[in-house]
Symmetry: C2
Subunit: 289 residues, 2 copies
């Protein structure tokens, strides 16, 4: 067995992300014991049957001794409650992280709660989104080469930061530090806005189809790629929009301005200018490949 | 050799689409001679070297005798001029089609022009978009299983309709007839609107980055899939927006309404209702796989 970073890895919420973490942690041998909690007893049964956890349940009666890394991998709205329930079972050698797509409100909420027990919190966000869900779809290689943003604050001590960093790196990820607030601005732009736009686009299509007849069956591969992210988990996304509301609204407004600009160029038939904008967008997009 | 449908296949404009048609026609043996025109002498050279045409140039000095299918595969804004130049060389056994993404204005423009020489026009639109371009990227299997919409009018005689239909089917396509006007409504919704939205999204990101610093490098796979179509040819898309302006603007307005609806739900913190909309979009999107 490789050198374990912790005695216990406790994953709270064994969906696609939690399940993938457990599989990757198994592969990397980073924890002596892998433990998993889930509100759904069927998920716990599946995880035990798959061998990805040694022990599981709804809430732990007690945790084995030693150093523990807790990873919150439920929906964002369950983080607080789960931590309140777990806190009495955690020893001072514990470090807590999460995998939420919004960071500032989570850091602000959980840091003081955990501090009452002397336990540090270091936020994490693995950039490994997918429209899949469920432990049965989880992937052991999900983190290989994947970027994971960690969001310590100026007050977080170095040891827990290093533990969380080493954990993700052991799973194959490229770790980058960012301020929680900056994280939420960046991901409002590159992830939350595109999701909102896609949901709106697919809904527009559905509404138009009811009025105008058959449309969607004519959509080509481009539309299907484009709208794949609209098949993502609605509850997860509602929570992202709720917690990152201000930044998402700010980028929605920026997007409106650009849409209006395109619309005006079309209405005024300024085709050369329009082509200039399309050219610029192509240039930007090509830079991403 | 398989039974040829025509003596001459003349492809005007040997970009990605024209090149793919020539390759597929070669494979299917649907024409005795494949001819290609392009304004770029390098493209003609490449096409000759690849063997996809027997003969090529900028304009034909004369066409070989026999039944000819002409396929317009240049940008939309060159269709009229190319047809005016070609018309003197075409015999009455000729049928003309195209591959433009907008149909009503093309049908309206070319039908009377060609009728002066007794030549029928049948519009085509292969739903095989890609962000690639150039004859060197063309694909011989592009049309296998691909939907091709043909847009004859109530006045188009049955023989040319059948020829165009048989041609695409011989290349492996599934052919469907649609009124030109209806085509333009449908594709404003499922193709032109999503392209406008993506261009606007990528531009929003570029503008925001200049103001707020590094954003795009944090985009994940979802964003890259989502915005791939923004790498499409700017001139082609400017022409699509120009020719289908009214329908595109109508769908942009529908999209605005939905975006405003999402924005209002966020501002008023109606999270249950928002989740309902995301759920509906997921349900619609899943239906497309």
């Amino acid at each position: 067995m490789k050198q374990a970073l912790v005695d216990n890895l406790l994953v709270v919420g064994m969906g696609f992300m939690g399940g993938s973490i457990l599989k990757a942690a198994w592969e990397a041998g980073v924890a002596k014991r892998r433990l998993g909690l889930d509100r759904d007893p069927q998920t716990v049964k599946k995880a035990l049957a798959m061998g990805i956890i040694h022990q599981g349940g709804y809430m732990p009666q007690s945790l084995p001794p030693g150093r523990t890394l807790v990873i919150l991998a439920t929906h964002l709205d369950a983080f607080r409650e789960k931590m309140e329930e777990l806190l009495p079972y955690l020893n001072p050698e514990t470090v807590v992280t999460d995998v939420g797509s919004v960071k500032a409100p989570v850091v602000k909420d959980l840091t003081p709660l955990l501090a009452t027990n002397g336990i540090p919190f270091v936020g994490s966000h693995p950039i490994a989104g997918t429209e899949k869900s469920g432990v049965e779809n989880s992937i052991k290689d999900l983190f290989i080469g994947t970027r994971v943003i960690i969001t310590p604050t100026s007050k977080t001590p170095p040891e827990p930061i290093n533990l969380v960093k080493n954990f993700w790196q052991a799973l194959g990820a490229r770790v980058e530090e960012m301020e929680p607030q900056r994280h939420d601005v960046v991901f409002a732009a590159v992830s939350h806005l595109p999701h909102a736009v896609t949901y709106a686009l697919v809904k527009t299509m559905g509404d138009s189809e009811r009025e105008l007849g058959d449309l969607l069956r004519f959509s080509g591969g481009g539309f299907k790629d484009f709208t794949r992210i609209a098949a993502s988990n609605p509850h997860m996304w509602r929570e992202i929009f709720r917690l990152n509301k201000d930044h998402v609204l700010a980028f929605l407004r920026r997007f409106h301005v650009t849409m209006k600009e395109l619309e005006n160029l079309m209405e005024e038939e300024k085709w050369e200018e329009l082509e200039g904008i399309l050219e610029e967008a192509r240039w930007l997009r090509r830079g991403l490949d």
